[in-house]
């Protein structure tokens, strides 16, 4: 008898809740969003009633946001697993998009980016997401790499911030002579980010990943000379002894501790090295080439979902999500919160004028307009990785491997020729 009563009650509960659930499901559009973790406090900005999630859902009761913050260590594995099990997110924040375009997984940005949003994204960033004539993603934030010099050490060694490669060598020599325990220069050609070093030196020697027509040109004479210069820096004992495995993070710590004199580093070194008297200058160049800074840009992209019950409502919800996120005030607040540079004109204007109205993620300080003015200006002269090319991931790992081989003694021209052939074969 008890069993009968329990079953009846359970059945009644299920039947009683079912219509409500169905009604709610029919009305609401759910968006699954994956955001990458930029700092220790990323969750606080995005999640909860006081975060972006809460305010967005309050303003849009017909949309249910399901945001997940994923660390960069797990991001690629997680996204690949979701895709291979047909559970791709609706919106994803990651660095590259070409692989998803190749598998026809993404929606063109024109389908969901409102005219207003399109107009305020800086043109170079909008165009950087173009592949085969279609823009596939939106830039979420940017960062700039430039030369950071410990002014106290340079003054003591009697040298100025170097502007050419020759000056780099002479400054390193002077610093070594001044104090043998100070590492003059930093170099990271590790698996983590060796492609960044390739960019710094090849771009500032008139070379780079691609030629003027956008074709792969990895074995140009300028690139060969650039990698040979890296080897010279290692062989002269001017950089950390272990550039093959030491990433830039311990090098940033060393710069902040005053034991590394000069570093080609990211703009957030500005905060990390706050205790050091440093100056920021353009990257040194060679052969009279103009100085090129490196820009890094991460992206937001929307995936197709052919199984969505109401495509129109889904696309409208995605548009609302982006409009809300790139709202001048909201977005400017997020840039200060995470310490990155804005990619929209209205937020850039706010931040270069009055960043102090926003607080950093760790609550330690207000935003610094001088920081945004310095680096937003540099963004205009930046080069970016050619991430819109389908072979980019192979090129990235290939140049790291080539740098390591050359710095270990392999012939630079032969190694880069072999890489170029390998990449061209892939492109075919």
């Amino acid at each position: 008898m008890k069993k009968v009563i329990a079953t009846t009650l359970a059945l009644a509960m299920v039947l009683g809740t079912a219509p409500t659930a169905l009604a709610e499901g029919a009305e609401k559009t759910t968006l699954n969003v994956i955001i990458s973790q930029y700092g220790d406090h990323t969750q606080e900005w995005w999640l909860g009633e006081n975060g972006f999630e809460g305010s967005f859902e309050a303003a849009n009761p017909d949309i249910d946001l399901n945001i997940e913050i994923v660390s960069w260590n797990d991001l690629y594995t997680k996204v690949n697993t979701l895709i291979s099990t047909n559970q791709a997110p609706d919106i994803l924040n990651i660095d590259t998009f070409a692989d998803y375009v190749a598998d026809d997984l993404l929606m063109p940005a024109e389908e969901y980016a409102s005219e207003e949003l399109k107009a305020k994204i800086l043109p170079s960033f909008w165009n950087a997401n173009e592949m085969d004539g279609t823009v596939w993603a939106l830039p979420i934030l940017a960062s700039v790499r430039a030369l950071f010099c410990n002014q106290d050490i340079l003054d003591a060694a009697g040298v100025a911030a170097p502007t050419t490669w020759d000056e780099v060598l002479s400054a390193c020599e002077a610093i070594k002579a001044y104090d043998e325990n100070i590492v003059p220069w930093s170099l990271d050609i590790s698996t983590d980010e060796g492609q960044a070093a390739f960019s710094y030196y090849t771009w500032n020697n008139g070379g780079g990943f691609v030629d003027a027509d956008g074709n792969w040109a990895l074995n140009s004479a300028e690139n060969v000379a650039a990698v040979e210069f890296m080897k010279k820096l290692i062989d002269s004992g001017y950089c950390t002894a272990d550039p093959y495995t030491e990433t830039r993070y311990p090098q940033q710590d060393a710069f902040a501790a005053g034991s590394l004199a000069m570093m080609l580093g990211p703009c957030n070194l500005y905060d990390i090295a706050a205790d050091v008297n440093f100056a920021v200058s353009p990257m040194p160049t060679n052969g009279g080439n103009p100085s090129v800074q490196m820009g890094v840009c991460d992206r937001l992209m929307a995936f197709r979902n052919d199984d969505a019950p109401d495509q129109e409502a889904r696309t409208a919800a995605i548009t609302k999500f982006f409009d809300a996120f790139y709202d001048a005030d909201t977005y400017a607040g997020y840039m200060v919160f995470e310490g990155f540079l804005p990619v929209t004109s209205d937020s850039a204007a706010i931040l270069t004028e009055s960043a102090d109205q926003y607080t950093k993620g760790d609550g330690s300080a207000q935003g610094n307009s001088e920081y945004f003015a310095t680096f937003c200006d540099m963004l205009n002269s930046c080069n970016f990785y050619p991430t819109a090319k389908a072979e980019w991931n192979d090129v990235k790992q290939g140049v790291i491997n080539a740098e390591q081989q050359i710095c270990q003694g392999s012939d630079a021209q032969e190694t880069l020729d072999a890489l170029q052939d390998e990449i061209l074969a892939l492109a075919e």
């Binding site: 594995t77 190749a102 590492v183 698996t191 002894a241 272990d242 093959y244 991931n393 491997n401 270990q408």
Partner: protein, 297 residues
């Protein structure tokens, strides 16, 4: 009555069923999946595009990095298992003697094995670092070196350090396997040998080693499997760099999959590793079991 007997026959299998199911789900399914993936075309984004005529295996066999990695894996496994067995055996012999503080020394010996491999690797990375490593600092303070030495200037040196760290974290396991074996040897054998005038080496070769064979077989087979598949030491210290010269199969397939986006090739390397390990472990087991049978005769 007959019904009861039939039930009795089936009963053990019913009790075994949960474990068998668990093994099927946790072991058999992943193995079959990896075999399937190794023969499939998988895009960088993770989309599986079907059978690709062993292309992954062909690409792997055509890669010089794979052959270098295979050689490294062999050197890594043989050196780490070999030296840790030797060192572990010697230390077990010492710890089997009566001396003051033996319990404390036994506890200390277990530390390298009990500590997380990642932590051990990070500590060793700091010890050998050329710019701020403690090895350089200590040697300089002792006046043995004048300026800092780069202890890992190339791939071979890095790999040698990694092998040493592998040995350091593995030998305690052998020590304790051998120690438990030593304690089960009846002292009467040694007393009889003493009466017959046997020396240390004779007792070692004719009593200790033959009676330790089961313990050594277990520790060696388990070590071959653990060390062959070991990932944290090499990944933490070099990630297979410089120029992919310090990989073993475990780190190589991880890099192929999660850095290079070649999941199909990574699955192929995994299958090759599985095959190599099956062959090595089987040969060792067959040889040692055969030797045991001969001893019994």
């Amino acid at each position: 009555m007959r019904k009861h007997a039939a039930l009795k026959k089936v009963e053990p299998y019913v009790w075994l069923l949960p474990s068998l199911l668990l093994m099927a789900v946790m072991i058999a399914v992943p193995i079959v999946t990896v075999f399937q993936l190794s023969m499939s075309e998988i895009s960088r984004a993770g989309v599986i595009k079907g059978y690709n005529d062993f292309k992954n295996f062909k690409q792997i066999f055509a890669s010089s990095t794979f052959w270098h990695t295979l050689r490294n894996t062999l050197v890594w496994t043989v050196s780490v298992v070999g030296f840790s067995t030797l060192i572990g055996f010697v230390i077990a012999m010492v710890l089997n003697q009566e001396f003051v503080g033996r319990k404390i020394v036994r506890a200390i010996v277990v530390f390298p094995w009990a500590t997380s491999l990642i932590i051990q690797s990070v500590i060793w990375k700091y010890i050998i670092n050329a710019d701020y490593g403690s090895l350089n600092v200590i040697l300089q303070k002792l006046g043995i070196i004048k300026s800092y030495v780069n202890w890992a200037p190339d791939a071979a040196a890095y790999f040698a350090w990694e092998c040493w760290i592998g040995i350091f974290v593995t030998f305690p396991f052998v020590t304790f396997c051998v120690l438990s074996g030593l304690q089960s040897i009846d002292n009467a054998f040694y007393e009889a040998a003493d009466i017959d005038g046997a020396g240390f080496w004779q007792k070692l070769g004719l009593i200790t080693l033959p009676l330790l064979k089961p313990s050594l077989t277990v520790s060696t087979v388990l070590n071959i499997i653990y060390v062959f598949n070991s990932f944290p030491i090499i990944w933490t210290i070099t990630k297979g760099d410089p120029a992919d010269r310090t990989h073993t199969l475990a780190t190589y397939l991880y890099k192929l999959s999660f850095y290079n986006g070649k999941s199909g090739q990574a699955a192929a390397v995994s299958v090759i590793g599985f095959a190599v390990l099956c062959v090595c472990a089987s040969i060792y087991m067959i040889l040692s079991l055969r030797a045991e049978k001969e001893d019994e005769r």
